[in-house]
Amino acid sequence: MEINRRHFIALLVGGAAGINATPLPWKFTDDIAIWTQNWPWVPVPPTGEFSHVKSVCTLCPGGCGIEVRKVDDRAVKIEGRTDYPVNPGGICPLGMGGLQLLYNESIRFTGPMKRVGPRGSGKFIAITWDEAINTIADRISDLRKQERPEALAAIDGNPTMGTMASMIERLLRAVGSPNYERIPSAEDTYRMTNLVMQGTEGPMAYDLENADYILSFGSGLLEGWGAPGRVINAWGLWQEHTAKRKARVVQIESRASNTASKADQWLAPKPGTEAALALGLAHVIIKEHLHNADFVDAYSFGFNNWASPDGKNHMGYKTMVLNSYSPDQVAEITGLQPKDIVALARDFAGAKAPVATCGKGKGYLNGSLYEFMAVQGLNALVGNINMPGGVLVCDPPPLSPLPEIQKDTIAREGLKKSRLDHAGTRRYPFSKSLIGDFAKTIIKSPKSPVNTLLVFSANPDFTLPDGGAFREALKKVPFIVSFSPYQDETSYMADLILPDHTYLEKMDDVVWPTGLQYPLYGISKPVVKPVYATRNSGDVIMQLAKRIGGSVGSSFPWKKYDDVLKERAKGLFDTQAGLVHYDGSVPAWKRLRDRGSVTPDYKNFDDMWKKIKAGGFWYLPVHAYKNWDRLFKTPTGKFEFFSTRIELAFDDYALLKNMGIAEKGDAACMPHFEPALSGADRSAYPLLMLPYEMINLASGWTPPPPFLNKTIFDNQLRKNESFAEINPKTASKYGLKEGDRVTIKSPQGTVRVCVNLFEGAMPGIVYLPLGFGHTAYDEFSRGKGVNPNDIIHMGKDPLSGHPVWWNTPVQLIKV
C-alpha cells in the first residue's frame, strides 16, 4: 500500500487518540507530579537514632548550658538546658545558630594550612600537622637561639579565667616572652575597679535576680551583656506580672536600644558623661543623707576629708562630689534635666535592693575605669556591696594552680625585657595588657619587634575598635600563626593555620560565666567527633612545647589538654563544697537569697570529676554576705572611695599627665569625670559616631551564623549596605532622607552607609552597628555592610590606658 500524506496524518491523529485511550498519559501525569515531590536536588536528611548530648556553649563568655539533639553522628539542633544553673532553658540567637558554624565548610579550615596567596587573600594549601608544628617550633627555637624569645608574641581571646588562657600564657613564659596580649573587654575594667576600690581579685558579680532596682550605666542587658541566657531570664523575672514586687530597670544610654526601650525608665546623657551622672546621683544621695551610713562610716575610706600620716590634708569623696557634681553642674555636662537626676538618685537610694551596673553594650569592649569606679561608688553609697541583690564580692574561682613553669636562662632573660605595650609599668599600673599600645609599638618601630605572632580565639583585625591600626601592625609582623577554626580576617593575614576544634568538638572549661554572682565551673565537651582534621589548641600547645624541648617541654608535663583541666579542677574538690547537680525548681539565685547551705553531692574527686564531665558543671550557690570587716583587701582594709592603690601607683602628681589623667589633685585617686579628648578639630567633624551592639549580630571573634541574617531588619542591612541610625532632626540638617546614601568621615577614614531615621537616636550622633563589614568568611557575611571599627578614632582612657571607642568625631557627606 502506498503511504501518502493522508495516511500519515491519519496515523498521527489515530495514534494520538489511541495513546489517550491507554492509561499511559494518566500514569505519566501522576509520575511527573511524584517527581516534583521528590526532586533529587532537594536534600533528604537521613534519619537514624536520636540522642541528646549535654554541653556548655562557649561562643561567648556567658557559658549557657546547651543540649544538642543528634541523629546518629549528626548534630541537628541546639537547645537550651533546663538542668544547668546559668540559663533555665533559653539561649541566645548566636548560640542557637551554632551548628551553622560547625558544619559550614566554607568558613572553616579543614586542617593545618600554609598561606600561598598574598596576605588577606585567603589562599592556603593543606599541610600535615607535623609540618605545621615543626615550622613554629623551629621558628621559636631559632628566636631562643638568637636570645630574643620576646620576639614571640601571642594574642589571646580566650576567657581570662579559663585553662586555655593559662596554657597560652604559660607557653609564652616558658619560652621567655612577656608579650602575652589579651583582647580587651569590660572584664579588664571590672578587674581594675575591684582592685583599686576593694582590693579584690574576684570577678564582678551582680546579684541581678534578687535586685529590685537595676540602674544600668549602658549595660546592654538585652544586647548580650553578661551571660545572655541568664541576664535575659532575669529580665523575664523582673517583668513577672504576678511578682510581689516588680523590679524597676533604668537604662542610662544615649540611644533607644532594646534595653533602653524595654526598661521602665530611660535617661540619655551624652555618651562618655556617664561618670558625671553617677557622681551627680552620689551628690544628691549624700546631700539628702540617703546613703547607708553604717557602711560608709565604718567600712569605707576616703569618704570624708582625711589627713595622711605625713600631716597632709586630703579631700574626701563627699567634698569632691558636693563641690563639683551638683545636679545643675551634672545637667550641664550630661545634657539631662536636674530634676531627673534628683528623682533618679532618690529612687535608687530608696529601693530595697538597688544595684548599679556598668560595662557598655555586650561588655565585649573595655569600659572607662573612672566611670566604673563612679558606678561602683554608688553601690557602696547605698551599702549594697556584698549584700543580696547588690554587688557580691567573691573570691577567685577555687582552681588548683598549675605547677611552676620551668625557665632556662634564655627564658629568664627574655622575661626581664619590658612588654611592648608597657602594661603594668608606671604608666599603666593596673592594666595587664594593652593591645592598642602593642600595635602602636609595632607600627612605630622600623622593624617589627615581634617576629612570630600566635593568635588564639581572636579576630583582632576585625573586632578591635582602633581605626584599623591593628591591621597595619599585622602587615608588619613577619610571621603570623592562627589557631582559629574559622577563616576570619585575622587568619586571612596569617602565614600558618593550626585550626582548633570548634566548641562543639572539644573539651574545655568555662570558668565563671561573666557577671554571675556565684562561682560556676562548666565543662563543654565534644558533642560530635571532629568534623575535620583539626586539633584542640591546648593539645597543640603541648605538642609544640615538647617539640621545642628543654625547659619549655618540661613546663608541660601532661599528656593531653584534658589532663590539665582535671588537674585544675582538683581545687574545686578541695573546697569540700559545691554541687554537680542542678534542680531547676530551686534556681541558684533563690538558693543565694534564702541563704541555704549546700552539701556536696559527690563522694570523692574522681566521682566529682566524672559527674562534672557528665553533667557539665560544678557550682557553689552559697555566699557569705556582708562580712564588711574582712571583705576588703585594700591597703586600708576598707572600701576605698579614695584609692590608696592609685595614690601609691604614682609618687609624683606630675606623672598623672603621662597616664592621660587631666585631674591634678586628690580627685585623681577617686572616681571623677574627665571629658574624653579626641584631639580632632571638631569644626571639621561636628558629629560623633558611636558603635552599638545587637544581640542578634555577632560582633566578637565568633563568626555570625547565617541564621542571624534572618533576624536583621532591612533598615539595618539591605543587600550589602548597612545603615547608620540618625535622629531625623540631625538628618534634616544634612538634607538626608530615609535610605539616602551617606559617607561618614572620621580622622581615621570613611565608610559608606545608608541612613535609617530613628527617633531613638540622640541628635548629633551617628550610630553604627558592630558586626557587619566582614571581608572574610563566606557569602552569608562577606561584604555585607561596614565595620565601624575601621573609622573609630581611638582615644585613651585615663589611668587604664584602654581604648576610648565611644568618642569618634565624624562628619556626614551626602552621596
Binding site: T29, I32, A33, W35, T36, Q37
Partner: protein
C-alpha cells in the same frame, strides 16, 4: 502562495506582507517563550512577585483578559439563546477573542503557579470551599466549550471544507451551537462571579472583603456584570481595529450598535450597584474593621483618585456616551467610550488584586511596592502577541466575518 487556503471571494494581502505583519508578534512570543522557560526552569524567583505580592502582573492580566473575553459567552448568549440575529456577524470574532483570552490566561496561570506539574491537584484534591477551585473548573470547561465553538469555523476553511466528513461534522456542530452557548454562558457566569468572589471572600483583608448573599460576596455579582458590560466593548474594539488594519468594513453597523447599546445598559446597572457596594463597604466592612475609608489611601501612589477614576472617568463617562444613541453612532465617541470602559474593568481588577495586597493589614506592617521584571512583562506581552497572531491568522484563512464579501464587493 497560500491562496488555495484563503476564503473565497475576499481580498487578502500577499503572503510576504502577512509574514512581515507577524514578525513583531512572533518577537513578543519569543520574548515570552524565553521568559516562560526561565520561570519554569529556575522558578518564580525570576519575577518580582513576593510574599506580599503573591498575586501580581500576571493575575491582573489574567483577570483583565478573562473579563474582556466575556464578549464571547455573552455574544453567544445573545445570539443563540436570546436570538439576536444581527450578532451572527460578530459571533465568530467574539468566539476567537474569547478563545484567545481564555487560552492565554490558562497559559499564564500554568506559569504563575509554583508547581505547574501538580496543577491538576486542583481537580484531584479539590477544596469545594475555594472560589479559585470554582474558577479553575469553570475556566477549564469553558475553554473546552470555546474550542468546540471554534471548531466549526476552522472546518469552514476552504480546503478543510472540501473534505466531506469534516464538512458534515462542522455543520452538525454548528446546528447544535445553542447547547454549547448555553453551557458556556452557565460556566462563564460562574467563573466570572467566582473570580470576583475570590476577593470578596478575603474576610481578613478589609480592603477586598465584601458582605454578600448566602455564600456569594457582592463582588461575585459585580464581576459578572462588569465583565458582560465590558466584554462587548472589547469585541467592538477588536473588530474596529481589524477594520482599521484591513481597511475594510467587516461588520454591519447594526451589530456594533446593538452591542454598544447592551453594553451601555449593563454598564449603567453595574455602576449603580458598584456605587451601592462601595457605600455598603465604606459604612459596613470598613468601620467594623476599625478603619476609615481614607485609611486605605494614605500610603504609596494609591489615593482616592483610584475610586474617582474607576467609577467616574472609566465608568460613568463611558456609560453616558454609550447611552446616548447619537454619541455611540459617532465612530470617535464609540471608540473612546469602549476604550474607557475596557480601561475601567482593567483598573477594577488591578485595584482588587494589587491594591488589596499592597495595603498592609497589620497596623504596624508597612506599605510595599512592586514593579514587574522583564520576565513578567515577557509572559504578559506574549499573550498579546499570541492574540494578534491567532486572530490575524484566523482572519486570513477563515471566514470570520460572514458579511465581509457583501460589505466589500470585488472591484476588479
Amino acid at each position: 502562495m497560500d491562496s488555495p487556503l484563503l476564503p473565497e471571494g475576499v481580498k487578502r494581502c500577499s503572503t510576504t506582507t502577512f509574514l512581515f505583519w507577524t514578525l513583531p508578534w512572533l518577537a513578543l512570543l519569543a520574548w515570552g517563550g524565553l521568559s516562560a522557560f526561565l520561570c519554569l526552569w529556575k522558578g518564580l524567583n525570576q519575577t518580582n512577585m513576593s510574599n506580599v505580592f503573591a498575586f501580581a502582573l500576571w493575575i491582573v492580566f489574567d483577570l483583565a483578559i478573562i473579563a474582556l473575553g466575556a464578549g464571547a459567552f455573552f455574544t453567544g448568549f445573545l445570539t443563540y439563546i436570546i436570538g439576536k440575529g444581527e450578532l451572527k456577524n460578530v459571533i465568530n470574532a467574539a468566539v476567537i477573542i474569547g478563545f484567545i483570552c481564555y487560552s492565554g490566561a490558562m497559559g499564564m496561570l500554568g506559569i504563575d503557579i509554583g508547581q505547574p506539574i501538580r496543577g491538576w491537584f486542583i481537580f484531584w484534591h479539590a477544596n469545594i470551599h475555594s472560589m479559585l477551585v470554582e474558577v479553575s473548573f469553570c475556566i477549564t470547561c469553558y475553554l473546552m466549550v470555546l474550542g468546540i465553538e471554534f471548531i466549526p469555523l476552522i472546518l469552514r476553511n476552504r480546503q478543510l471544507d472540501k473534505i466531506r466528513g469534516l464538512h458534515i461534522f462542522g455543520h452538525s456542530l454548528h446546528e447544535i451551537m445553542a447547547v454549547f452557548a448555553a453551557t458556556g454562558t452557565f460556566l462563564s457566569f460562574f467563573h466570572q462571579g467566582s473570580l470576583g468572589g475570590m476577593f470578596g471572600v478575603l474576610y481578613a483583608r478589609p480592603f477586598a472583603a465584601r458582605d454578600g448573599f448566602y455564600i456569594w460576596p457582592w463582588t461575585f455579582f459585580l464581576f459578572i456584570l462588569s465583565a458582560i458590560a465590558a466584554g462587548p466593548c472589547f469585541t467592538i474594539l477588536c473588530t474596529k481595529l481589524t477594520e482599521k488594519i484591513t481597511r475594510k468594513k467587516l461588520v454591519p453597523d447594526n451589530a456594533i450598535q446593538l452591542l454598544a447599546k447592551i453594553s451601555a445598559w449593563l454598564l449603567s446597572i453595574y455602576l449603580v450597584l458598584k456605587i451601592a457596594d462601595t457605600l455598603g463597604w465604606i459604612y459596613g466592612v470598613v468601620p467594623r474593621a476599625g478603619l476609615k475609608f481614607i485609611d486605605f489611601y494614605r500610603e504609596g501612589p494609591y489615593g482616592i483618585w483610584l475610586v474617582v477614576c474607576e467609577i467616574v472617568i472609566f465608568g460613568i463617562i463611558p456609560a453616558i456616551i454609550l447611552l446616548i444613541p447619537k454619541a455611540r453612532r459617532h465612530q470617535g465617541w464609540l471608540i473612546t467610550a469602549c476604550l474607557l470602559n475596557c480601561t475601567g474593568i482593567v483598573l477594577n481588577r488591578f485595584v482588587f488584586i494589587i491594591v488589596t495586597l499592597a495595603i498592609p493589614v497589620m497596623p504596624f506592617d508597612r506599605f510595599w511596592s512592586y514593579l514587574p521584571t522583564w520576565q513578567e512583562w515577557g509572559i504578559a506581552m506574549a499573550v498579546i502577541g499570541y492574540g494578534f497572531l491567532l486572530f490575524s491568522t484566523a482572519y486570513r484563512y477563515l471566514p470570520v466575518f460572514p458579511q465581509e464579501r457583501e460589505l466589500n464587493p470585488a472591484t476588479e
